[in-house]
């Protein structure tokens, strides 16, 4: 009985030691990758290219009868509204793909969705770091099976993460550049519609003869401006979020061979916290 207890103690001590070696550095990676995954999946184009196309059709076109302008501004004609909706879907899909990459990294880092059972069974019947677990003894360590599975998986995971991050870094960074570009283009287009709207309304206010007309135009301007401002703010915050994930990804890549470093762990946790904060501001 005593021999079994001491064997348990030794095994637990070894498990703790292994935990320190493998689990701890991945904890920060899990936090960063999970937060990145969540932020990228939360993207919501409530005012996207479809809304932009619809608004710009009636805002930018000067008069229905102005054929010169109609011809020049054909690119915002609302016959393109349906393709604009497809563009929204396409960009959303790009976000989902990058989110999927981080979801994969999060799983590999130990967020718990990997199937442990084969390793669990092996643990119950095998020999690990010099400790042999017989079939009889296995039942006493039943509760530890998951921990052992985690430990050995962590070793495998750490190796896999390094390989994946190194292999795909360039593509990931390029994907981020494209996402940032798309966001910036959208944000800028909304800002342009707002500018046009403002000039048009100012013009009409100047031309209107009665106080009532002016008041109605100003009221309308305020309402629509609020909608544009909210959309611009959303994209502005989204751009910051994506930039933060991109920067964090670069730090992860640069530190991939020293995930134990205290400075890396602090830095990547800082990115993880910033991503949560920025992501929450896109929702407000």
């Amino acid at each position: 009985m005593k021999a079994r207890q001491s064997a348990e103690s030794i095994l637990l001590a070894l498990l703790e030691l292994l935990c320190l070696c493998y689990c701890v550095p991945l904890k920060e990676v899990v936090t960063f990758t999970s937060n990145s995954n969540n932020a990228l999946l939360a993207v919501n184009f409530s005012y996207g290219y479809f809304n932009y196309s619809r608004d710009s059709t009636y805002i930018i076109l000067k008069d229905p009868g102005d054929t010169v302008l109609v011809r020049e501004l054909r690119n915002v004609d609302c016959t393109k509204c349906s393709s604009a909706a497809k563009l929204d879907t396409l960009i959303k899909k790009e976000f989902t793909i990058v989110a999927g990459y981080y979801g994969g990294l999060a799983k590999l880092s130990g967020s718990g969705l990997i199937n442990f059972s084969p390793i669990g069974k092996a643990v119950s019947a095998g020999t690990y770091v010099g400790v042999t677990i017989s079939k009889d003894e296995a039942s006493y360590f039943g509760d530890l099976t998951t921990v052992v599975s985690d430990l050995f998986t962590a070793g495998y995971r750490s190796k896999e993460i390094k390989k994946i991050v190194k292999e795909h870094e360039m593509a990931v960074q390029e994907a981020f550049d494209l996402l940032i570009l798309h966001i910036d283009n959208m944000q800028s287009k909304i800002d342009l519609v707002k500018k046009e709207y403002k000039t048009r309304l100012e013009n009409w206010i100047d031309l209107s003869k009665t106080y009532r007309e002016k008041w109605l135009l100003i009221d309308r301007y305020k309402q629509k401006s609020k909608e544009f401002d909210e959309a611009v703010l959303y994209y502005k915050n989204l751009k910051k979020t994506v930039q933060k994930i991109k920067d964090g990804d670069k730090v992860l890549y640069n530190s991939i061979n020293k995930l134990n470093d205290e400075s890396f762990r602090k830095q990547i946790m800082g990115f993880a916290a910033d991503i949560i904060y920025l992501n929450s501001s896109t929702k407000n």
Binding site: S56, I60, K62, L69, E72, L73, N75, V76, L87, E174, D177, L178, L181, H182, D184, N185, S188, K189, D191, L192, K195, E196, K198, T199, R200, E202, N203, D206
Partner: protein, 132 residues
């Protein structure tokens, strides 16, 4: 330039036109209803602003499509002149100058979109002359 760099450059051009449109909008905002800006001049400037906004839109759309190819030479010239044009637009002090600059900027956009290198050079010259 790589396709991504071309897309980023198109985005920068979009921003450049966006800033010109903003300057014209501010000019209109400050002078509308005053003797400094007559109704005909206001109409011209409003239309010019619409056209500039349209070109800015075009550049942002091109950026999304990553559609710029073999455009390094034309764009190199614009990059060099962008800052100078920005300063010129910032210092608009009368509506004639504003109209002259806006017209030049519109011609420049048309030349860029059609990849017309000599058109780019001509319109840059007219912008700088209008701003002088």
């Amino acid at each position: 330039m790589t396709p991504l760099e071309n897309a980023q450059f198109a985005n920068q051009l979009g921003h450049f036109y966006q800033s010109v449109a903003a300057q014209i909008g501010n000019y209109i905002h400050e002078n509308i209803g005053t003797p400094g800006l007559s109704r005909p001049d206001l109409d011209i400037l409003s239309d010019d602003q619409t056209r500039i906004i349209s070109y800015a839109n075009t550049f942002f759309s091109l950026s999304d499509k990553i559609a710029f190819a073999d455009s390094d030479v034309s764009f190199g010239k614009i990059t060099a002149a962008q800052e100078e044009i920005k300063n010129a637009v910032t210092h608009i002090d009368n509506s004639n100058k504003a109209i002259g600059i806006a017209g030049g900027v519109i011609s420049l956009a048309a030349a860029v979109v059609t990849c017309n290198a000599s058109g780019i050079a001509t319109s840059l010259g007219s912008i700088l002359a209008a701003a002088a």
